[in-house]
Amino acid sequence: MAEATKKKNLDGAPVIDFDKFRPTRSSENSRKRKDLFMTGLIGLAFVIACIPLVSVLWTTIVNGLKRLNLNFLSYNMTGVVGGNPTPSGGYGGVVHAIIGTLEITGGAMVISIPIGIMCAVYLVEYAHGGKLAMTISLLVDVMSGIPSIVAGLFAFSMFTIVFGPGTINGIEGSVALSLLMLPTVVKSCEEMLKIVPNDLREASLALGVTKQRTITKIVLRTALPGIVSGCILAIARVIGETAPLLMTAGYISSTNVNLFSGQMTTLPVFVYQEYSKLNANCPVHATSACVPTIPMERAWAAALVLIIIVLVLNLIGRLVAKVFAVKTER
């Protein structure tokens, strides 16, 4: 105040009463309380989100370990009657489902990875932000939101119209999965191609190398780790899909290694089928070896196998991206 009066004396400027703007203690406290409250809420939100994750992982591991053994991984479901043990001493297994999962996902990879990479090459290298490219880019985004069951219906309709009604085989499942996988592959490849430094392209073109060779030998080679990791994450996304495979690949209890004919079981479908069986029948005079709750235990064990596959794929994908990452200048 003393300074203000001095200033007024000096050049006649109006007096500003700064005390008016000084925050009162009550408003200060309420702001602090609100801040603390929101910090608490935000921390709480995080804790709430951890509960389901921990619960899902914990219950799957605890329940899954009960039946997860070598026998479970090396037999299929043929000869399994009710809750009785099979001659091999186990209660049936998932080897047919693991084979089916690998083949169908492999088929989806073969279809969608080349198309996805070439589509990303088109978007980044050839179409320089033209109208068509913008539309394609937008539609790729939209495509990533297609419900998985619609992808299944699409593959089913296509195969019944083209190959006649009642067609159910592994490759039909692969087509459905590749529809879900394609947008993820395109998006991640596009991101990776975009961060390849332009100097490399220009240097290569300046040496008289054709565009095709520049792309295959320089651009794709540089972006390879990113592309590999993107593809692995895309596989991890589709390997757990159930709904499209229910109607396209079907369900059998024996092992089928032919992707192009006959029904095929995959792990997620196996989990679902065992879940919907609820209980197994045990005859009245059955011994204690007959386990009525065996379908649920098999479902949990198969779920554990599936979760391990998905998490390992995720881990590999992230490691590849991290270890072999292209160093770009910022």
Binding site: R31, K34, D35, M38, T39, I42, G43, A45, F46, A49, C50, P52, L53, S55, V56, T59, T60, M118, C119, V121, Y122, Y126, L132, L138, D141, G145, I146, P147, I149, V150, A151, L153, F154, F156, S157, M158, I161, P165, L179, L182, V186, G208, T210, K211, Q212, T216, A236, G240, E241, T242, L246, P268, Y275, W300, A303, L306, I307, V310, L311, N314
Partner: protein
């Protein structure tokens, strides 16, 4: 000098390869459009008997699906649509605030080292297959959540949404919404986290410089900046929830009404779960009917996703 001969020969061979490669790249780009059109067309052709086929046979099929309740396609699909939208919006409501909270926690509250770890945890949540969420929901959550919903039905039963008595086992819309919320949570979290991290540092520091507390800074600088990102993330999450099949199929006890009694069993069903449930026993016409409902689901999710992407596009320009 053979090494000099080869470069001379190269361009001729290189040019054809160049053209072929360019052609393939263009073809793959356009293939995306073709595939999307094919999805629509194949579904439409397979569902054609619904429109162009024998109408009395269609009515018979639909009334066998619904147990004689209705015999028109719209009478069949509208309750399903209502159920789908109800479940998805509830899931979104539950997930929205929690995921914004986590996103803020990761971007502005947690120390940097913990934040990267947390991002991994969120991605992990996204990687778990839906059938496992269904298994967990059906066997663990349904019995575990009953006391809570029962409490809600007893004390908040005067709200029509929570009208009791709470069903036991809780195979209801409320439980399904909780599981779907867990499933869409990582989508909203990771997208809004990314956009929160992009908030200009200058704006944040300006807010601090004016004496704002942390929460006031977030309200002044971070939220307005990330608004469109949050909206589009929520719409993407909505799209995901609309199309979710397995979790709903494995948890919900289905019904075909326009009821909003969340805590009672056999009230609603979603389109996707209905397709998966009815499909194995459906005859040829039945499959056409189901594909017709699938086509409607496809169009709705397409519109929702398209709108979400348009919003992001506008925001980033």
């Amino acid at each position: 000098m053979s090494s000099q001969d080869t470069p001379v020969m190269q361009p001729a061979g290189g040019k054809t390869a160049d053209k072929v490669f360019k052609g393939i790249a263009y073809a793959c780009g356009i293939l995306i459009l073709v595939v999307l059109a094919a999805v629509f067309l194949f579904l439409f052709f397979r569902a054609w008997p619904l429109i162009g086929g024998d109408q009395s046979a269609n009515s018979a099929t639909i009334s066998s699906f619904t147990g004689g309740k209705t015999n028109s396609f719209w009478g069949y699909v509208l309750p399903l649509l209502f159920g789908t939208v109800l479940v998805s919006i509830l899931a979104l409501l539950i997930a929205f605030f929690i995921s914004i909270g986590i996103a803020l926690f990761i971007s502005h509250y947690a120390p940097k080292k913990i934040a990267t770890g947390l991002s991994y945890v969120v991605d992990l949540l996204a990687a778990i297959p839906s059938v496992i969420y269904g298994l967990w929901g059906g066997l663990i959550l349904v019995p575990a959540i009953y006391p809570f919903w029962n409490w809600v039905a007893t004390y908040l039963g005067w709200i029509p949404l929570f009208a009791g008595p709470a069903a036991n086992p809780q195979r209801t819309v409320a439980t399904v919404a909780v599981v779907l919320a867990v499933m869409v949570l990582p989508i909203i979290t990771s997208m809004s986290r990314d956009i929160f991290l992009q908030t200009p540092t200058l704006q944040q520091e300006a807010a601090y410089g004016l004496g704002a507390t942390k929460w006031e800074m977030i309200k002044l600088a971070v939220i307005p900046f990330g608004k469109s990102g949050i909206v589009s993330a929520s719409m993407l999450a909505l799209g995901r929830a609309l199309g979710e099949t397995m979790a709903v199929l494995m948890i919900l006890s289905p019904g075909l009404t326009y009821s909003i009694k969340l805590l009672q069993a056999s009230q609603n069903q979603t389109i996707a779960a209905n397709i998966a449930a009815q499909y194995p026993e459906a005859n040829d016409l039945g499959v056409s009917t189901l594909i017709g409902t699938g086509l409607i689901l496809f169009l709705i999710t397409f519109v929702v996703n398209y709108a979400a992407r348009k919003i992001t596009e506008k925001a980033s320009v």
